[in-house]
Every structure is written in C-alpha cells, then in structure tokens.
Assembly symmetry: C2
Homo-oligomer: 336 residues x 2
Amino acid sequence: MMLKQIGEFGFIDKISKGCLIRPDNIIRAIGDDAAAFTVASDQVSLITTDLLVERIHFIRKSISGFDLGHKSLAVNLSDIAAMGGQAREAFVSIGIPLTCPLDYLKAVYDGMKHLAEKFNVNILGGDTTRSEVDLIINVVVYGTAAKNRLLCRDAAEPGDIIFSTGYLGDSKAGLYLILNNLPVDSTEMQALYRAHVLPQPHLREGRFLADQSGIRAAIDVSDGLSSDLGHITEQSAVGATIYATQIPISDSLQTFCAAYGFDPLEYALGGGEDYILLCTAAPQHADEIEQNFQRQFKRPLFRIGKTTADHRLEVVYANGTSRAISPRGWDHFKKN
Amino acid sequence: MMLKQIGEFGFIDKISKGCLIRPDNIIRAIGDDAAAFTVASDQVSLITTDLLVERIHFIRKSISGFDLGHKSLAVNLSDIAAMGGQAREAFVSIGIPLTCPLDYLKAVYDGMKHLAEKFNVNILGGDTTRSEVDLIINVVVYGTAAKNRLLCRDAAEPGDIIFSTGYLGDSKAGLYLILNNLPVDSTEMQALYRAHVLPQPHLREGRFLADQSGIRAAIDVSDGLSSDLGHITEQSAVGATIYATQIPISDSLQTFCAAYGFDPLEYALGGGEDYILLCTAAPQHADEIEQNFQRQFKRPLFRIGKTTADHRLEVVYANGTSRAISPRGWDHFKKN
C-alpha cells in the first residue's frame, strides 16, 4: 500500500499508536500545535537534533525500515547520553517521496518505537510531509540532567584519564561488510553488522558516569575516536595521548581485519558511528570509577590514555614510537 | 564561494555568530553534544518542529535565502503562538546540496536570525549535513507557557465566539503572484507578496490571548481557515458557523481578486499559510477580549463566527443561505 491511498492524516493516525509510553508530566502529545510537558525544577533541559538524508546517510535499498528508524533515534539518544542525561521526548520530522512504500515507513516507526520503549522515551510530535526524491528523517530528542551533573566537552584538565565505554571500530567494519556485499554469516560478522545498523546508545552508561566523583568531560563517538576526542581536547584546551595497546578492539573486529587485511587500530581510531562514550576523569578517581563501572555493567570501562598540557593529539605504540593524529575526522563538505 | 571550500566546521563557525542573543538560563549553546538550559519551575515546556523541503515547500530560484530562513522559523514560532507560549530556543537542521552557494545559505541564517532577534529567540543548536539534490531545512522551537494559560485545540465549547487575529487569504494571493510571475509593483500587491514570504508569527497576540479570561481553544492558520478551524471543532467535538460578511479580507486581497477575477471569500476560507491565530472564547467574555485586543494592538480582533453543538462546519452568506465547508484542507499525499 502506498501513502497516497491513506493520506497524510491517515498516516499520522497509523503511526501515532504506541508513541506515548510514559504519560507522566505530558500535557499535550501528538495532535496540537506543539507538544506540552512539565519538567522537574531541579533539572536542566537538553535538546539535540540529527538529520538523516537518503543517499547521504543511508541507501534505502541497503537498510531495513526498522534499522533506519532505530538508527535515526539512536544517534540522538547517544548525544543525550554524552551529556549524562535522561532522554525523555522525541520528535520526528519525515519527508516522504511518493515512491516509498507504506510498509517501509511503518517499519521506520516500529524501529524508533522499539528503541524509544527500551529507554522510556515518548515520541511526542513531529512533522509529516512530502519529499521529491529522497527520504528525509530529522529526529529531535529532549532530555534532562541533574543541574550539577552535566557532562560537557570543555571540562577536561591536563592529566585526566581518558576512558571509553565500549569497543571502537566495529561500526566501520559493519559498514564495510554492507557496502561490499560481504557475507554476514558468522557470529563475529553479525556482531559488526549489528554494531553498524543497530547501535545501542550508552544512556545508562552516561548517567552512571555523570554520577561518579571525578568525571570531567564526555562526548559520544559519532565521527571517530580521533575526531571526537579532538573536540574534547580543542574545547578543553588540552592535548591527549592514546596508547595503541589499550584501545578496545573487539574479537569480531580482529577476525574481520585478519580476514580482509586491515589494521584494527586504524579502524578503531578513524571509524565513526560507534556511539559509545569517551570521557575524562581526574586521575585520583580513575580506579574507583573503573571498579564501579565494572560492578554496575559487568564489563570493563576501557582506560585508553590521558590528557596532556600541550595541545597535541598523539597515539603511542607498543614499541614506544608515537604519531600525531588529526583531530578532525569526517567533514560532510570536504573530501575526507 | 561554495561550501566545500570552507567545509562543515568552517560553515558552522560562520553561521554561529549572532545566534545567542539571550544568554540568561543558557548553560550550553552550539558546540556540545546537546544544548542545555534551565526552565522556570512554573512554566510548561513546549516543542514544535517543521520540515521544509525544496521543490515541495519552496522553489529555490523563486525565494531569496533571507525569506526562506525567515519562513522556516516563522512557521514554528506560529505554532508556539497558537499555544499561547513564549518562544525561546530554536534548533536548525540543514541538508545542503553541493550546488547551493554559500551566500544563499548565509542569507538563510540571516533571515532566521533577524526574526529570532525580533522575538528574543536563541538559535541554540542544530545539525549541518549534505543532501544529494534538495535543500532541506528542519526547524525546532522550544518555548514555555504559564501552567494554567495553555491554549489547546480541544477546549472549545458550543456557543463560543470564534475570533481571528488577522486577515485571511493574503498569503495565498501572494503565492499566486509568485507562481505566475505577476507584477508586484503596487502597495497592495507588495503586501500580499510579503504576507506569503515574510509571515509575521502572532506570538504577542497568542500570549495576550492566553492571559485573557474566557479564552478557550486556539490554533494557527497554516493549512487554511476551514481546515484549521476543522481541527478545533473535531478535537473539541463541536461544530462551527462562520459568517461570510465577517471574515476579515484585506483591501489588498479585494484589489487582487478584482484584478484577477477570484472570489475573496474562497481565498480567505481555503488559503493556507496565513499564520494568524484563530481562537474561541466564552461569549460573556467576548466583548471585553475584543476591546482589550484593540487597545493593546491598535487593530481589531475579528469576530468571525461561533461554535455550535452539532458537528457541522458551515459558512453563512449575507443572503441567509449557508454551505457546508470541508474540515480538512491540505493533505501532502492526496490530490488537494
């Protein structure tokens, strides 16, 4: 069935079901001129937004509607996670070409709703319109954080320990598998594929970190470790040394790189869309934070390096040699 | 100059200037994972979003960057106005084709900033990315309203007086001039052109109305009087009678219709994008509201009809005859 058979309002009726899963504090959901809700007075409001455009961010034939919906929301939830926040309300603008089947669109919303439910997020509004050729999805997420617990990019100090909440480079490997139509038949390749198409935002990890003593700066890895760490060092006016042997590389990525002849370290440094968190912590609190994280999540918080007083970003190898890494990764308008 | 010469981050640096005009309550503006701000505890939070896609909502060759920027923000401010709210923070996602000149994009932001400044709104964040062919602009506006002063669509009661805060149909006439390359050389035609390309959101009018005793429902006219009034009647489970002789038609629209052979009433009923407000009020308060409005804004609040106990929407003509009007106007996916 195509959209023109049920029309804009028929479509909105169809996708509105299951959008309001946490009605507390909600005064108006989908259906009025704006959504309306109340916020507890001790909370800071957070807003983030991401635009996904067909042929730039995704190829419709290569991603299921469900996965696309998941990803559109996940990238925004990850930004709230990086502030140490609780995601609360999502708003979805969608520009739909007439060639896009209704089933695909329904799956997009199913993917969003499934992830929204996992993190107790309402889909509270949006805009539904046409697009001439490309499917367009813009998601906005509103979240809250405790007033004194906000994680920002500019709060690192020289000598901080740099942590990563998860493996790096898996998503880039997953993308390589997809773009090259390679088999996704082993557990390892499936893990990489899922890391790319169904990234899990580290909202719980972000809130946990925000509650720890000694945590300073944080960011989520969307453009790649070197690029995103570069945002922290630039905005905090510090440098950073990353230890090659300490960068968390999954067994799946090792297997992938062995099979296809790549360097796992390059994938970990330059791969984007991991949606794990990088954070820095005062050195005297680092051990405690690491232990608390392990106890809470039953997996390690990876200690990957430290911030420095100069403004350089470098990676140090096992043999003691080092190399500068470029702080700026993906740029949508320059050749990357 | 084209965007690829300065890159994504060069562009963000360029357009970020002049975005933060009201720093009070702002903890994080452009540059972190999410914007962060505080909200007074007696306020309700409002969020609205609108997506504008090239070739669907605008033709790039026919609209200046400034006017496009103005309009993208204005349509969202109008939604906050319709809730009786104060607009506070705007977030701009933009998908840019490589063919779009930097000057045009800069003008888009100039148009937004000019309007934002007029209403004391910060541009607090967004997303900048590429698009394959069409320019895409999604704007989100965050606003606040006093807890007991929210104007909603479902609050009309039978017997309410229906008001309009401005003239109807001018924007549609302006669009006709543009689409048919007709001369915009007289004061009247310029007024119609401006009504279409530079609509002025009725934020002050919305807040004023929200403060009046007896005001019940409200909506802004984006799809057209009959369509938007239809949202109020449908959601409030009432009907409405509109008096043809009382519908506010500007002298400019009269001149236009006389020149091109159109019926002004049809333009007023079916024309969209007026971005004035419709509201309903308890009849015993109607006179006082009307007088207060005139005193505040030095122009009339137009009394155009009343709500009824049945579910019909009708227009009554000077000669006493009446005709049902369809409650649903513009549908993006059906033939309109």
